[in-house]
């Protein structure tokens, strides 16, 4: 029987209606309003991505998003919502808080920002046409991406952050996204971080759910890192297990820069974390990592595109996925090496550990190489815990659950070790341990 695909699903129809009724009330006019229209045109033309769209093959949003939840208003008790968040609480950091996508000034450390750091709430920035808005949307390989376009159409709030040239920020900047409500809602926060030449900063990003209703989150963080910058970024997805959570990191990395970014996923019912990164200057090095731990019926997709557009850059990608229960993990990693990008050194590895017979992993690392003098490799593995190792540990006296936990910790630990900051790593290790403890 031929499958009949409606031209628009109910959710798609709702999105179109919502944009039409909201667009005049969304912050920003002129150029910004025009960009919203363009972004939404893309969303409307493509519809919700489904498995026939190569990029979204393993994560069928059309199927998952049966109803488009209304865009969240600023919650009445935004501060109270933020107070229920716990991520990175033990890390000494400057907090910038967002409740259901809205900037929460009363829970943000605007008054005590480190020297050289400036923060403008996005709603205000959009309304006044802030010059930093020009830094948006610069990553070519991210253009046309559905989640990014959807955010660009609906972005209501967020922040513009600038780290002035030469500043070594001594405290981490923590982007704390907290979601919660009693009725379904959608979010579209946008954060742009400009790290000027020679500056260094640690950025933490956490996404937590603290409410009772399922929600649809769609955050975008854009990082523009200048020449000679050093940035360490860690992102934690601890969303509610009934949430649909999309998040995107789009990066432009200047010359002689260093960036390490690790994404940790334990939450979300269906989640997709995207990284789009373009090297825009030579002699830069990038480390991207992932540590994903799934159980139940969770589905988590990590999709990255690393664009080596210039020569002499190095990238390392190490992604670890642990899948238990009936959960599904997805890794799609693409490294593009453009014709001019000679002497590129790129290595990508995705390893998955399946803890149950019903766990699934889709692993798709890809290289697209158009230059001839490069060193690139990728690999993917997928397997169960090694019986011989388990026996070795048990023969030393560890009960089965403890032996398994130790092996899973070792597996995921390799990715967590990419985080240099001890306090941050300590929290991530503790979260991995808590995840394992729940398993026993």
């Amino acid at each position: 029987m031929a499958e009949i695909t409606p031209i628009r699903t109910a959710a798609e129809v709702a999105l179109v209606e919502r944009f039409a009724s909201l667009k005049d009330r969304l912050p920003g006019s002129g150029d910004i309003a025009r960009r919203r229209d363009e972004a939404f045109a893309l969303v409307a033309a493509a519809g919700l991505p489904n498995r026939r769209v190569e990029e979204w093959k393993y994560t069928d949003l059309r199927n998952a998003v049966r109803e488009a939840a209304p865009l969240a208003e600023r919650p009445a008790d935004a501060a109270g919502l933020v107070d229920r968040a716990s991520a990175f609480a033990g890390v000494d950091a400057v907090r910038l808080s967002f409740a259901n996508g809205h900037f929460v000034a009363e829970r943000s450390d605007l008054a005590v920002l480190p020297a050289g750091v400036t923060v403008t709430p996005l709603a205000a920035a959009l309304a006044q046409g802030h010059p930093l808005l020009a830094e948006m949307g610069k990553v070519a390989v991210a253009r046309g991406n559905f989640a990014l376009a959807l955010n660009s159409a609906f972005m209501v709030d967020g922040a513009l952050v600038k780290v002035a040239a030469g500043t070594a920020v001594d405290k981490a900047l923590h982007l704390r996204f907290v979601n919660g409500g009693t009725a379904p809602f959608a979010t579209a926060p946008r954060v742009v971080i400009l790290v000027e030449d020679g500056a260094s900063v640690t950025i933490l990003e956490s996404h937590e759910g603290v409410g009772t209703a399922a929600y649809q989150a769609n955050s975008v963080v854009e990082l523009v890192a200048g020449k000679g910058t050093a940035v360490a970024h860690t992102r934690l997805n601890a969303e509610q297990v009934d949430a649909i959570s999309l998040s995107t990191l789009a990066v432009t990395l200047g010359a002689e820069a260093r960036l390490t970014s690790l994404g940790v996923v334990t939450g979300g019912g269906l989640s997709r974390h995207q990284v789009f990164l373009a090297f825009s200057g030579e002699q830069s090095s990038l480390t991207l990592g992932g540590a994903t731990m799934l159980r139940g019926r969770q589905h988590a997709d990590t999709t990255l595109v690393v664009d080596h557009a210039v020569p002499h850059c190095e990238s390392r990608e190490l992604f670890k996925t642990v899948v238990d229960g009936e959960a599904t993990g997805v890794f799609q990693g693409k490294i593009i090496v453009r014709p001019d990008a000679q002497k590129t050194d790129g290595r990508m590895m995705s390893a998955a550990l399946l803890l149950s017979e019903t766990a699934t992993m889709n692993n798709k690392p890809e290289l697209e190489i158009f230059a001839d003098d490069v060193q690139c490799a990728h690999g993917a593995t997928c397997g169960a815990l090694d019986d011989d190792l388990l026996f070795y540990l048990m023969a030393r006296g560890l009960p089965r659950a403890a032996a398994e936990a130790l092996l899973v910790q070792a597996f995921i630990g390799e990715a967590l070790e990419l985080v240099e900051d001890e306090a941050v790593r300590g929290e991530l290790v503790a979260r991995a341990e808590a995840w394992l403890a729940e398993r026993a």
Partner: protein, 249 residues
């Protein structure tokens, strides 16, 4: 201490142990020698509780209790320890973390208090020094990048720390240089105790000069085909296994 009666074991439909009988008394050091493939490592794995072996008949008693239905960790809690012929590498688990985990797991099984960190460090340091194991090695992933000899010494270190009652050494001497052999043998000898027994699997008389056995057993085709005193090892060194291969076949 250990009594094995008529043990019959298969793996993947292939019979490896063929009605094996063996008794080792408390305080005794028993050596097992035998040709390659005769089933020595299989015996040690089956005593330690490796899953993939199918026990078709017989029993293994430790202090009178049949341990065949027990998980490997439960056997360890009853004092069984196997020093592996091929110790495994576990990247991502530092040797220290591993040692602490196994020591505390066994203490927990025996309903003893966990060791405090200083007490643990003290014990590890003392045992490592005896075995000439560098502190730096203890910070690395377990057995990762260790030489063959270092891995064997690490097995003995674990044995010394866990203080098991029934110790199986599966070719602990292979891969050791002459000095290391002496160090390991001293380590084993210092653990000799009237309440502890050893089953030492080896191909070479040389080890038995250092760890002098009370009894020597010859294994061929999955059975003990001859038993005697320490002089039997010397005899084997001279004559080889030709006679026993025929006898067992």
């Amino acid at each position: 201490m250990l009594q094995i009666n008529n043990l019959v074991v298969e793996i993947e439909g292939k019979r490896i142990l063929n009605g094996l009988d063996l008794t080792v008394k408390a305080g005794e050091v028993a050596a097992i020698m035998g040709p390659n493939g005769s089933g020595k490592s299989t015996l040690s794995y089956v005593i330690a509780g490796k899953e993939e072996y199918e026990v078709l008949d017989g029993e293994i008693l430790i202090n009178g209790e049949n341990i065949l239905e027990l998980e490997p960790n439960e056997r360890a809690a009853r004092g069984v320890f196997l020093a592996f012929q091929y110790p495994l590498e576990i990247p991502g688990v530092s040797t220290m973390t591993f040692l602490k985990a196994i020591m505390n797991a066994q203490r927990k099984a025996r309903e003893e208090e966990e060791l405090t960190t200083p007490e643990f460090m003290k014990r590890v340091k003392a045992a490592a020094e005896k075995l000439h194991i560098d502190q730096e090695m203890l910070r690395r992933g377990l057995n990762v990048g260790f030489s063959g000899g270092e891995k064997k010494r690490m097995e003995i270190l674990q044995m010394a720390l866990l203080e098991p009652r029934f110790c199986i050494l599966d070719e602990t001497d292979s891969g050791l240089d002459i000095d290391a052999l002496k160090i390991v043998a001293d380590g084993v000898n210092s653990l000799r105790d009237p309440a502890r027994a050893f089953l030492v699997i080896t191909h070479y008389q040389r080890l038995l000069n250092h760890i002098v056995p009370d009894t020597v057993h010859v294994m061929a085709n999955g059975r003990i085909v001859r038993s005697g005193g320490k002089e039997l090892a010397l005899e084997l060194e001279a004559s080889g296994y030709a006679d026993y291969r025929e006898q067992a076949a």
